[in-house]
């Protein structure tokens, strides 16, 4: 009686451990399975719909006080674009740099840094949340993206803004290692979505994306594209590189980075 109970117990414990081990190794197999992958990834859509429903258009990211600003703000991703073109921009203090706005717009635009600084500015102290888990608080000053998009006049078919950057985060032969990002018009016209040229009261440093970077405050760090060169309005981002709407998105990360 006792013996039997003992073996049964051992069987149960053994089979539980065995099943766990199988599950774990099974996960790696599942991980590479297309269908499982698409089921698992369906949660992303649910998250986006739920957050958008709760947010409405205008829910604002938390803004902080001057005293909350982090003593140090980590430089992440590219710390200095290594192209000759970028080096030339740095050489003359970005005087030759231009921000192009084109694609599905009525009036394609070109802005110098001085042009942008003349427009109505917005300053906000917000928390930057990296997808890896760390956070830093900084003060950003820039032009509301909605303002420059309105100047360009969106065509009715425009649905996304694609941001082309100067940095190549991964060296590739086909250029697919170039950083890019995209957001939809809800985020593009959000009052806190700005093209920032200053951080903590000073011009952006090269490490933080000089001369211009995106701040889209209700999403994670990888959406905050640095070294902006061109904003292209499109009806779909499936034609760009990996087709997922951004550098990190092409490497498996969510396009909607609200969580």
């Amino acid at each position: 009686m006792t013996v039997q109970f003992f073996t049964r117990r051992r069987f149960l414990i053994g089979s539980t451990l065995g099943a766990s081990a199988l599950t774990l190794s099974g996960c790696d197999v599942l991980e590479r399975n297309e269908q499982v992958g698409s089921v698992i990834r369906s949660a992303e859509n649910l998250t986006m719909r739920a957050q958008r429903l709760l947010q409405g258009r205008d829910a604002r990211a938390r803004e902080f006080a001057e005293t909350d600003i982090s003593p140090s703000f980590r430089v992440n991703g590219t710390s200095r674009p290594d192209s000759e073109d970028y080096a030339a921009f740095v050489e003359n203090g970005f005087a030759d740099w231009r921000l192009k706005i084109d694609g599905l717009v009525d009036r394609p635009q070109e802005f110098t840094l001085a042009d942008l600084k003349k427009l109505a500015a917005r300053t906000q102290i917000t928390r930057h949340d990296c997808v890896e888990g760390w956070s830093a608080i900084g003060k950003w000053t820039g032009v509301p993206l909605g303002l420059v998009l309105t100047a360009a006049g969106l065509k009715p078919s425009a649905r996304f803004a694609v941001f082309h950057c100067a940095d190549e985060l991964e060296k590739t032969l086909d250029g697919s290692g170039r950083y890019y990002e995209s957001i939809d018009l809800i985020d593009a016209f959000h009052p806190q979505t700005i093209l920032a040229y200053a951080m903590n009261g000073k011009d952006l440093t090269i490490g933080h994306g000089a001369p211009l970077r995106l701040r889209v405050e209700r999403q994670l760090g990888y959406k905050q594209a640095k070294y902006l060169m061109r904003i292209e309005l499109v009806d779909s981002f499936s034609g760009f590189w990996g087709g997922n709407g951004g550098y990190w998105e092409d490497r498996g990360y969510e396009w909607y980075a609200g969580i």
Binding site: M1, T2, F5, R8, R9, L12, I13, S20, T23, L24, S25, C27, D28, E31, G37, V39, I40, R41, S42, A43, E44, L46, T47, Q51, L54, Q55, A59, R60, A61, R62, F64, D68, S70, P71, S72, F73, R74, R127, D129, C130, V131, E132, G133, W134, S135, A136, I137, E217, R218, Q219, L220, W248, R251, G252, Y253, E254, G258, I259
Partner: protein, 284 residues
């Protein structure tokens, strides 16, 4: 345990099967096991992307940390460590540095404890959020069913008698001696069980969800006060980690109790709902 049964050991023991768990409890229990397993292992994968915890609104490299799992040295000198509140413990082989495909590799939690086993934050996040949704839906179904069926009131709320200090102490001693209720007493959860389950259901599991949501910049825009409830996103992240650790501790004790008080009987009751109660006779 009735008087006559205690004095009359010749009376053959009678075993009766009682209905212990409703179908809703059983289904949601096993789904919860599945969800929490995946959430824990994919959570460790996510933690590995930045294996350091902080208090407050912000925290990154160089900011004062509550907990760090890291690696030092290189080559043959590569060693892993766990640093909590300034105290550093060597953890080579498990935390900080562990074997990945045969070579000692710097990574916070070892490959056997993460989903997927290789370092892949994006994949870990997909698994985590998929099972987070399932966990929330499953939890809501459980709460609704338990509330409507009176399961909370009837089975999980401790009676006045159970909450007396004398009784509680008595139960602690019984548990420590591994003596578990028998006969009619075994029909109900004991006080320690009720309190533990309530803490898990009402405090720990909701805390996992709330601290998880507090880390989301999208949710922070909807509920700005949430961040202040915890005193910052990084505090919420740290509490998320502590609460997860407490849940792991609960599961270890929970499984130990299941095994000690009758593995087969307990497991069957959570699968078929039937639980055997022994009346009279001697304990074999």
């Amino acid at each position: 345990m009735t008087e006559w049964a205690r004095n009359d050991n010749d009376e053959p023991p009678r075993v009766s099967l009682v209905r212990r768990h409703s179908i809703a409890t059983r289904l949601t229990h096993w789904l919860n096991v599945l969800c929490l397993s995946f959430l824990l292992l994919s959570g460790l994968q996510i933690f590995n992307a930045h294996p350091e915890l902080y208090w407050g609104h912000y925290g990154a490299d160089g900011d004062p940390a509550v907990l760090t799992i890291g690696a030092g040295g290189s080559g043959d000198d590569l060693h892993g460590f766990l640093r909590i509140a300034g105290v550093e413990l060597p953890t080579t082989g498990v935390l900080g540095v562990s074997n990945f495909e045969g070579t000692p590799t710097p990574r916070a939690f070892p490959a056997w404890s993460t989903i997927p086993s290789f370092q892949d934050l994006a994949a870990g996040r997909h698994w985590h959020f998929f099972f987070a949704w399932l966990f929330v839906i499953n939890g809501l179904v459980y709460l609704a069913c338990s509330f409507l069926s009176g399961h909370f009131r009837r089975d999980l709320t401790p009676t006045r008698h159970q909450l007396s200090l004398h009784h509680l102490w008595h139960e602690v001693v019984d548990h420590a001696r591994l003596r578990f209720p028998e006969g009619d007493e075994a029909r109900h959860y004991n006080a320690l069980q009720k309190l533990t389950y309530l803490i898990v259901i009402v405090v720990l599991l909701p805390m996992m969800l709330i601290t998880g949501l507090t880390m989301s910049p999208g949710i922070d825009a909807v509920l700005p006060w949430l961040v202040d409830v915890f005193g910052g996103r990084q505090t919420a992240r740290t509490i998320h980690f502590i609460t997860a650790s407490l849940l792991v501790l609960f599961v270890i004790v929970h499984v130990a109790m299941v095994v000690l008080s009758g593995t087969w009987n307990n497991t069957r009751s959570m699968i078929t709902g039937r639980y055997a109660i022994r009346h009279g006779g001697r304990k074999s």
